[in-house]
């Protein structure tokens, strides 16, 4: 028995004959499927890993900070319905000094349970050993910080806790699901190197912070199905009289918020970007298959003449497409698995998971395969139509010349300006405007992809530039351990080298509007701040009036509030007033989701006039060191953050976190764009090979014959550029929205630079494709022109 029917063998040979083109289409499809499989695999893996990590190390679901609660309060908390586990701990802020570092680093000291493993918020000992509970000076250090600072177990460091300076001995490095991301208080951006976490014995920490027999944070685990809101209310009722600072759920826990935002951003990218790639591939497949079948008219006629039925012939061509489509999908799935696994490994390291639960998304394979097959079948409709219409006699006649009479005579200008090769190019475009337009749209789609992806790159840079050069014009930011008298501002201003000082008051707050809420902070600032500014979309500074609140775009979106709406602000400090604030403006902030108020109005509402919790400084660079020394020794200073460091930190988050996907996407967009242009060139070549050989025979040089071919490609490319720019606008909007998270927003960047770069990419692709096709043209067998069409 024969394994392959003659038609199937023809199929294999046809595939081999068009291997270049089939390969290019398969690769474009494969890249689409790859991004889908990779992205959804990464998102799944991160979610599964995060959840498993939280679960295995029993991360608390509710955090309840309090000023000081006696240990017996824990029993009352445990009685609250819905609570499955409670644990108390002592935490405190500290300043860590590292040899060779001028500026001390802010740190959080966390107590280790006195007996056995923690019931909640367990830690993973990555290196070294646990501290001896009887040795007050032994501590564990957060591995992320230790790595960033090159510290190893055995290192010694000194820290100031509650005003007292003590020496410590690092016995081990730990990882914790609670501190995947660490952010210094008052800062928006997590930075491993600039915030430390120390774990030490409860007794030692309690002594340092006057917490003997008491705790200042309760960790709470929930029963399955328990209402978190009800538990939060109940916990607040218990802790409020003791100075509760407001219990909050995991969603508002800082580290979890960041990682969840990253995953959420990745998910939105994974559902919006790969389909674009797949859609482009599908469109390309459709165009190409249609044209391949057009070129096979004689063969189809011949097959029919032999007695093959329409269905058999159609099935034959459908198979050809399916082989390419499914081949591409399988290749893409393989690439997706490999790259997904590799990227997941990178992210495991980046997010500091102690283990990885690699989990592919099965649906992504199905979706990828389905889209590939559907697009192949869509191309198949054109095939079916063509096959059914074609009379077998077509094969018996010499090829009839295509009818160009509708394009009309060359007259006037075109007659004088164009030589015959020029006319050939122009008439071809005129005769088949649909087909040429299809090819132009194909290239335009590729360009739009590039515009979108380049726009996102520019958008990321814009976010950083705008945030750190335009909005924030300071050099450093100081935070105080507690709200201090604004006299400190004058003291700072008097320091030699300080050029400008601006006060800021942070207040933690729960903002509500309708059914939406957001836990964050209000920044109280001068009515017309000069260093740290809020600006509108046109980059005009927004003044902060005595009445009302200015929300960042992200926050306005989260709260679904716009100017004119009144929002509720439940202040979580001091006398805990509840304010009803009209939204006066929306500020175009690209980092975090800040809210701004006039500092006097904020202090007034709190009944704490003239209080500041931090300051922005503009410093003479020459005198920076002496300023930092002086500031470090001032009482009440909790930390100094340099703008440069913050800028580096956000850059690193954007470049190593989910934002890094943009580089992969850019590369994919580039390859897809090239694939599309190259295909257009190949098709044009395939359709014209005979004419080109004829031209060569009658004495046209290679370059002259190439003009006829490449002129067409060039013309289509030129038509594609403006269309691509328009489509690119939509693409850029879609992609920048997909990449934006609550941590950072990516503005829509559609400017001359972006479009120009994308256009250049298309032109380079066109030039390269032209060169590749011209190589074939140079090798064309002249004798082929003398024969009938093959």
């Amino acid at each position: 028995m024969r394994l392959l029917s003659p038609l199937d063998r023809k199929l294999l040979r046809d595939l081999w004959r068009i291997k270049g083109q089939a390969g290019a289409i398969a690769v474009v499809i494969a890249l689409g499927v790859m991004t889908l499989v990779m992205m959804s695999g990464i998102v799944n893996t991160l979610e599964e890993t995060r959840d498993a990590y939280y679960d295995r190390y029993r991360l608390a679901e509710v955090f309840a900070p309090v000023e000081r609660a006696p240990e017996r309060t824990l029993k009352r908390l445990a009685e609250i319905p819905g609570i499955s586990a409670v644990e108390s701990r002592v935490t405190g802020m500290a300043l860590v000094e590292i040899p060779g570092e001028l500026i001390p680093i802010r740190a959080r000291a966390v107590s280790l349970p006195e007996h056995g493993p923690a019931r909640l918020n367990d830690i993973f000992l990555a290196e070294g050993r646990m501290p001896n509970p009887d040795r007050a000076e032994e501590v564990l250090l957060l591995k992320g910080f230790a790595d960033a600072r090159g510290l190893k177990p055995g290192a010694r460091l000194s820290a100031t806790m509650n005003g007292a300076r003590r020496g410590f001995h690092v016995t081990g490095l730990a990882q914790s699901p609670e501190f995947l991301y660490t952010t210094a208080p008052g800062e928006l951006i997590p930075d491993d190197a600039r915030f430390a976490v120390l774990w030490m014995s409860r007794a030692s920490l309690a002594a340092a912070y006057d917490m003997e027999g008491a705790f200042n944070e309760a960790l709470i685990g929930l029963e399955r199905g328990a209402s978190e809101a009800a538990v939060l209310d109940a916990v607040d009722r218990v802790l409020d009289p003791l100075g509760g600072l407001g219990a909050y759920g995991l969603a508002d826990q800082q580290s979890n918020f960041f990682i969840s935002e990253e995953i959420r951003g990745a998910r939105s990218t994974s559902v919006s970007v790969p389909p674009i790639f797949l859609g482009v591939s599908a469109f390309l497949l459709y165009i190409v298959i249609n044209r391949i079948v057009q070129a096979e008219r004689e063969e189809i006629g011949l097959l029919k003449a032999f007695g093959y039925t329409d269905w058999e012939v159609s099935a034959h061509y459908l198979k050809l497409m399916l082989v390419i489509a499914i081949g591409g999908a399988i290749l893409g799935s393989g690439l997706g698995i490999v790259s997904g696994r590799a990227m997941a490994g990178v992210y495991q390291e980046y997010y500091k998971f102690p283990f990885l639960v690699f989990e592919l998304e099965p649906r992504s394979f199905v979706t990828g395969l389905a889209i590939s097959v559907i697009s192949a079948c869509a191309g198949g409709f054109g095939v079916l139509r063509g096959v059914f219409r074609l009379a077998p006699a077509v094969a018996m006649r010499p090829p009839a010349p295509a009818d160009y009479s509708s394009t009309g005579q060359a007259a006037g200008l075109s007659r004088r300006l164009l030589d015959q090769p020029g006319r050939m190019v122009l008439r071809r475009v005129q005769r088949q405007p649909g087909r040429m337009f299809g090819a132009a749209i194909g290239i335009a789609t590729g360009m739009a992809l590039s515009v979108g992806m380049i726009g996102v790159q520019v958008g990321f840079n814009q976010t950083i530039d705008l945030s750190f050069s335009v909005l924030d014009r300071s050099d450093a930011q100081i935070t105080f351990t507690h709200a201090m008298s604004d006299k400190v501002i004058y003291e700072l201003a008097r320091l030699p080298g300080v050029e400008e000082v601006e006060p800021i008051r942070y207040v933690s707050v729960l903002l509500r509007h309708d059914f939406h809420d957001h836990r964050g902070a209000i920044n109280g600032q001068l009515s017309e701040p000069r260093l740290a500014r809020a600006m509108d979309a046109k980059q005009r500074p927004l003044p902060l009036p005595k009445e009302g609140i200015v929300l960042s775009t992200t926050l306005a979106r989260v709260l679904d509030a716009s100017p004119g709406d009144t929002i509720t602000a439940e202040i979580r400090e001091g006398r805990r007033p509840v304010l009803y604030l009209p939204v006066v403006a929306v500020a175009d902030s690209l980092l975090g989701s800040p809210a701004y108020m006039n500092i006097d109005a904020l202090n007034g509402a709190l009944n704490e006039p003239g209080r500041v919790s931090g300051a922005y400084l503009r410093i003479d660079e020459e005198a920076a060191e002496s300023v930092f020394r002086a500031v470090r020794d001032m009482p009440g200073v909790a930390g100094i953050g340099l703008k440069e460091d913050m800028r580096d930190a956000i850059q690193s988050i954007m470049d190593s976190g989910m934002g890094a996907m943009r580089f992969i996407m850019l590369a994919v967009a580039g390859i897809v764009t090239f694939g599309i242009v190259y295909n257009a060139a190949r098709i044009a070549y395939a359709e014209r090979a005979r004419d080109l050989a004829s031209l060569r025979v009658i004495g046209f040089s290679r370059a002259e014959a190439a003009f006829v071919l490449l002129g067409e490609l060039g013309l289509i490319t030129l038509i594609a550029l403006p269309i691509g720019a328009l489509m690119g606008y939509a693409m850029a909007a879609l992609v920048s929205a997909a990449f934006s998270t609550e941590v950072y927003s990516i503005p829509l960047m559609f400017d001359a630079h972006t479009v120009g770069t994308a256009a250049l990419a298309v032109l380079v692709s066109a030039a390269l494709s032209g060169w590749l096709v011209k190589r074939d043209l140079d090798r064309i067998e002249l004798v082929s022109a003398l024969k009938t069409r093959e």
């Binding site: 010499p398 010349p401 005579q409 015959q420 006319r423 025979v697 009658i698 046209f700 040089s701 003398l786």
Partner: protein, 242 residues
Amino acid sequence: MPKPSDTKALPAFRTAGLTKTYGEGKAAVHALRGVDLEVPTGEVVVLLGPSGSGKSTLLNILGGLDRATSGDAYFTDHELTAMADRELTLYRRDHVGFVFQFYNLMPSLTAEENVELVTEIAHNPMDPGKALDLVGLGERRHHFPAQLSGGEQQRVAIARAIAKQPDVLFCDEPTGALDSTTGRAVLKVLADVNEALGTTVLMVTHAAATAAMAHRVIHFADGAIRDVVRNAERLPPEEIVW
């Protein structure tokens, strides 16, 4: 490439021991097995022979489309077998006209423009209109190939080939795709061009009857010349029957 100094004195083509082999080893096909030939200038020469006998291969090598495996081929005093690709292109451009079995007109150009395609790049072309008049298609100069019959298309192809005033006209089965009446008209045009311009015409054909109009008939078999026959008397193309 300069014009030959005295083309009348030299034969248009001369070959010595010309061979052409496709493939290698056991699979090798010997298309030409040592061809020695002279084609005098100004003659109509018909190459006859069964498929695969080597006649088209010879035509392709003399036309500068293909390269010989060994042996020499001269166009007047120029050694074709020693020319680089670029020189062959110039040779085709300046000295050679081609007429194809399937016409190979550019579908996107009108009859006149197809002729202009060649006159634009030739050294000493005739007026495209005159070339079309010569083939009797002056009236249809503005028609596109799709609007012309097969015979008309072939005549446009001849007009295109002669418009550059070539020294040689190569015709590969010029009537192969035409009915006999139309075919005769095409042959008449070729004979007229030979008569009027003194162009050497090399024609490959299956139609043995065509041989009657030639000065010289070369019979091919198995990659070699079987014999060369000089027609003492030539038949006008109108009287050829096949």
